[in-house]
C-alpha cells in the first residue's frame, strides 16, 4: 500500500510539477520501491491519454513530407556513434584541431562566450527574442507606448500598444515589417484597438522576413492594404 502523500507526489512527478529537490527525493524512493514504480508507470500512461481529450485536429498536410525530407540527410544519434569512419564524424574533429592550432587564447575565450550564448538561446526561447520599442511619429499622440517582441527564427511576433486612439471610420491601423530583403514593407496584419486604447496581438508577416530592420504602424484604409499608403504613426528600429 502506497501512502496517499506518496501517491500525490507520484502524480505531480508524472505531471512534471515537482521541484528539483523533490524530484531527487522521489527518485530515490522510486529506486527502492517496485510498487511505486508501477504506480508511476500507470499514472504516466493515464496522464498521456489526456492528449486525446483535446479536440482532435489534423496537422498541416505538408509537415510529414518536410520531416521526411529533413531526416533524409541525417542518421539517428545511435547510428552516428556506430560509424567511426564516417566523414561526418571525423570532419568536426579535424576542424576543431585546426582551430586549436591557429586560434589564440583570446579567440578561444571569445568562442567560449559565444558557445555559452548559443546554448542559452537553445535553452531559453526568450534569448532569441528581439524587443523593439516603437516611437510616435507624424502627429501620433506623444503618450502612445508600443513594444514589439520578435522571434526571427520563428517568424512570429507580439505587439502591445497603449494609448492609441480609435482608427476612425473607414480606417484601420496596419503593422509592417521593414525588411532588408524586400523592396516594400511586408504587412504583418491589422491592429485593432479596444475602447481603452490598448491593442495587443500576435503576428506573423505575410512573407518570410529574415532581416527585419524596423517595425512600423500606419493608418490605412479599412481592411488594410497590400502596400503601405498611409502615414507612419509608430516606428521602431530593431
Amino acid at each position: 500500500m502506497i501512502a496517499e502523500e506518496q501517491q500525490d507526489r507520484a502524480a505531480l512527478y508524472v505531471l512534471g510539477r515537482l521541484d528539483a529537490e523533490a524530484i531527487a527525493a522521489f527518485e530515490r524512493a522510486l529506486e527502492k520501491d517496485p510498487h511505486l514504480r508501477e504506480l508511476v508507470h500507470e499514472f504516466r500512461e493515464a496522464a498521456a491519454t489526456l492528449a486525446l481529450a483535446a479536440p482532435q485536429t489534423e496537422p498541416p498536410a505538408t509537415l510529414k513530407a518536410r520531416l521526411l525530407h529533413e531526416i533524409a540527410g541525417r542518421a539517428p544519434e545511435s547510428l552516428q556513434k556506430g560509424q567511426p569512419f564516417a566523414v561526418s564524424r571525423w570532419l568536426p574533429w579535424a576542424i576543431a584541431a585546426a582551430l586549436l592550432i591557429f586560434c589564440s587564447l583570446l579567440l578561444e575565450d571569445r568562442q567560449h562566450l559565444r558557445r555559452q550564448l548559443a546554448e542559452a538561446r537553445n535553452v531559453d526561447p526568450l534569448m532569441r527574442t528581439k524587443f523593439v520599442e516603437l516611437n510616435p511619429a507624424n502627429g501620433a499622440p506623444a503618450n502612445v507606448r508600443a513594444m514589439v517582441a520578435w522571434e526571427p527564427d520563428k517568424q512570429i511576433g507580439f505587439i502591445r500598444i497603449v494609448g492609441l486612439p480609435a482608427a476612425g471610420s473607414g480606417k484601420d491601423y496596419q503593422l509592417w515589417a521593414v525588411d532588408a530583403e524586400h523592396k516594400d514593407p511586408v504587412s504583418a496584419g491589422i491592429v485593432h484597438v479596444d475602447q481603452n486604447g490598448v491593442a495587443q496581438m500576435r503576428f506573423k508577416p505575410e512573407v518570410a522576413t529574415r532581416r527585419v530592420k524596423a517595425f512600423a504602424l500606419t493608418l490605412e484604409r479599412e481592411g488594410g492594404v497590400p502596400k503601405a499608403e498611409g502615414p507612419i504613426l509608430l516606428l521602431g528600429n530593431t
Binding site: L15, E42, A46, L50, K64, L67, I71, P76, R160
Partner: protein, 194 residues
C-alpha cells in the same frame, strides 16, 4: 501492465527508427501526429506554433529513438510527455515575454492571451465508443467536475499546483488530492492498472 498490440507495434516502430528506418518514422508519424498536434493546438492556441512544436518533437524522436525505454512508458506516453514538456517551455517563454512587453508599456491591467485548460468536450461529443479519444473523454466525463478541472489544468496549462490552488481558491492539499484521485480514476477507467 500487459502490452497491447498497438503498443507492441509502436515499440517495434521505434526500434526500426533507431536503425534509421524512415518508413517506420512515417508510420509512427501517421499514428501520433494527430493527437500530438491536437494537444499542442489546445495548449498554445496557435496553429503555426503547434506545427513548430510537432516538428521539433518528431525530429527529436528521429534523433533519439534509441533512448526510448519501454520499461518507463509506452511510445505513445513517451511522445505525449515529450511534447507536453516542450509546450510548457513555450507557454512559460510566452508569459515571460508578455510580462516584459507589458512592463514596457506600463499597463498593469494586461491579460495574458490565456489558453488555460478548458473543460473537456461535452458528452454529446462522445459518439463512437470504439474510438480511443471518445473513450478517454467518456472516462474523463465520469470524473467529478472538480477532479477533472484540476487534472486538466495540471496537464494542459503551465500552472504549478500552487498556482492552480490559488486560482481555484482551494487549499494546496485539496488540489493535490484532486489531481491524484483524478489520475487514479482515469487509470482504473482506462484499464491501466497492473
Amino acid at each position: 501492465m500487459e502490452e497491447t498490440a498497438q503498443q507492441a507495434e509502436d515499440r517495434q516502430c521505434i526500434a526500426r527508427i533507431a536503425r534509421g528506418d524512415a518508413e517506420a518514422f512515417g508510420t509512427l508519424y501517421d499514428r501520433l501526429s494527430r493527437p500530438l498536434y491536437s494537444m499542442a493546438f489546445k495548449m498554445l492556441g496557435d496553429a503555426t506554433e503547434a506545427e513548430d512544436v510537432l516538428q521539433e518533437v518528431f525530429l527529436q524522436i528521429w534523433r533519439r529513438a534509441a533512448k526510448y525505454d519501454p520499461a518507463q512508458s509506452s511510445v505513445f506516453s513517451w511522445a505525449v510527455l515529450l511534447t507536453r514538456s516542450k509546450l510548457i517551455d513555450r507557454l512559460r517563454a510566452r508569459q515571460r515575454r508578455l510580462r516584459l512587453v507589458a512592463g514596457s508599456t506600463e499597463d498593469e491591467h494586461i491579460a495574458a492571451p490565456s489558453r488555460e485548460a478548458s473543460n473537456v468536450e461535452d458528452a454529446a461529443d462522445i459518439i463512437n465508443k470504439n474510438d480511443e479519444a471518445a473513450r478517454v473523454r467518456s472516462v474523463l466525463g465520469s470524473l467529478p467536475a472538480e477532479q477533472r478541472q484540476a487534472l486538466e489544468m495540471a496537464f494542459f496549462s503551465d500552472l504549478t499546483h500552487h498556482e492552480i490552488a490559488e486560482k481555484l481558491a482551494q487549499p494546496l492539499g485539496t488540489i493535490k488530492a484532486r489531481i491524484r484521485r483524478g489520475l487514479l480514476r482515469l487509470r482504473d477507467g482506462l484499464g491501466y492498472r497492473v
